[in-house]
Symmetry: C2
């Protein structure tokens, strides 16, 4: 896989979870201090763009091993895990942005369905600013079945919903937590919503009446983190 | 100005704040129920793309009047305003996403500097899902001077910062509030940071150590909204 952009290449090197077999950079990008001990092939911007297929490469790309997915059971085995589950999110921009926020709140990991969902592509790596290199991400065949497993493992499953939901700030968020987010416009699929313990909503005070899913994820994940930190202190 | 995409065209029509002088749509997009009473010119996708200059048009674009900017003084004249000020954010994706979240929390408005900042372009309209049509957005010559005016008008100015900042959840957020956000990577300029009453930070529990500015905006704005709602109830 070819990852591109400063943060994705830097975090792949820092995390060391998958081999970085070749780095191409413009002379300017190659001067970055974190590339000091790395063998870099000199390349022109057009050659980098041709190699990675995106204009957003910032003068650098790298050949790396396949993304090292985690197992869903491994995430559930953590003590009081905080897991983010994405129900058929197809936009790599949103999936990457949510992974970046999940990594920032110290989440145990992210769960993606195998079908009708973005996987960890180079575009997701870029949108996550390389956070996917440090985060554990698992793929599951069926998200509703995963939520069943999570409940049996002692987790409480909170689904983000617009309607028929309880206020997000009146929840406990203690112990094992799974936050389930649906695709924009579509929301959670019925069987996935039915597999949640509770549906929670953010207040909507405007006229447009919907948030971008990655903005909703940030508001919800920071509320969850804050509740958990308050309990510890 | 040509706005493109379903939400931007629909919200321009709904808000009615600027003239919508012509709508072009594919036969499929023209069948949307909210276009029932609107004169629509039939157009092929390629013609729409050529007209708006973006592939993200979703089969529809419209010619609209210039964006109706508000005055900064008008925002400060509101009772206990909640204002979001953006310090030299150039990425239309981030500016649009923050405007969408600001509209969702019922913010009084958004303030952008005239220079080195995205203005309300068609790309910003699209990234905001049309929320800019309902939101009041003002442009100011100098952001630090605006913060001085805001303080004289009784507002408390909170700057989002990574370092040297206080916990964001230990603040009051009562009365008039200005939340100031800086560009990713650069943060707030020194004079802008010095013009804030307090700098606040979100906890960072991961290894990457930075959030996307629109994710930070969502976490901060929902915390501010929740504090204000809790106080009212």
């Amino acid at each position: 896989m070819i990852v591109y952009g400063r943060n994705p290449v830097r975090e792949a090197l820092r995390a060391g979870r998958r081999p970085v077999t070749h780095v191409w950079a413009t002379r300017r990008a190659a001067g970055e201090p974190w590339l000091r001990d790395v063998a870099v092939s000199d390349a022109r911007p057009e050659a980098i763009e041709a190699r990675c297929g995106s204009a957003a490469h910032q003068g650098i790309c790298a050949e790396v091993g396949p993304y090292p997915y985690a197992g869903a059971a491994e995430l559930l085995a953590a003590a009081d895990p905080l897991i983010v589950a994405l129900d058929e999110l197809e936009d790599p921009q949103n999936v990457g942005a949510i992974c970046r926020t999940a990594e920032s709140v110290g989440a145990t990991g992210v769960v993606l369905p195998e079908r009708r969902s973005a996987e960890v592509t180079p575009a997701v790596c870029k949108a996550s600013a390389g956070a996917v290199e440090h985060l554990r991400i698992a793929r599951v065949r069926n998200l509703a079945d995963f939520l069943g497993d999570a409940k049996r493992a002692g987790c409480w499953c909170y689904g983000a919903a617009a309607e028929g939901a309880e206020p997000y700030d009146r929840q406990d968020y203690a112990g094992g937590v799974v936050l389930v987010l649906g695709a924009e416009g579509k929301g959670l699929r019925r069987r996935v919503a039915a597999s949640c313990d509770v549906l929670v909503a953010l207040p909507m005070m405007g006229r447009v009446g919907s948030l971008n899913v990655s903005a909703a994820a940030a508001a919800l994940l920071y509320e969850i983190l804050q509740r958990r930190l308050d309990r510890e202190s």
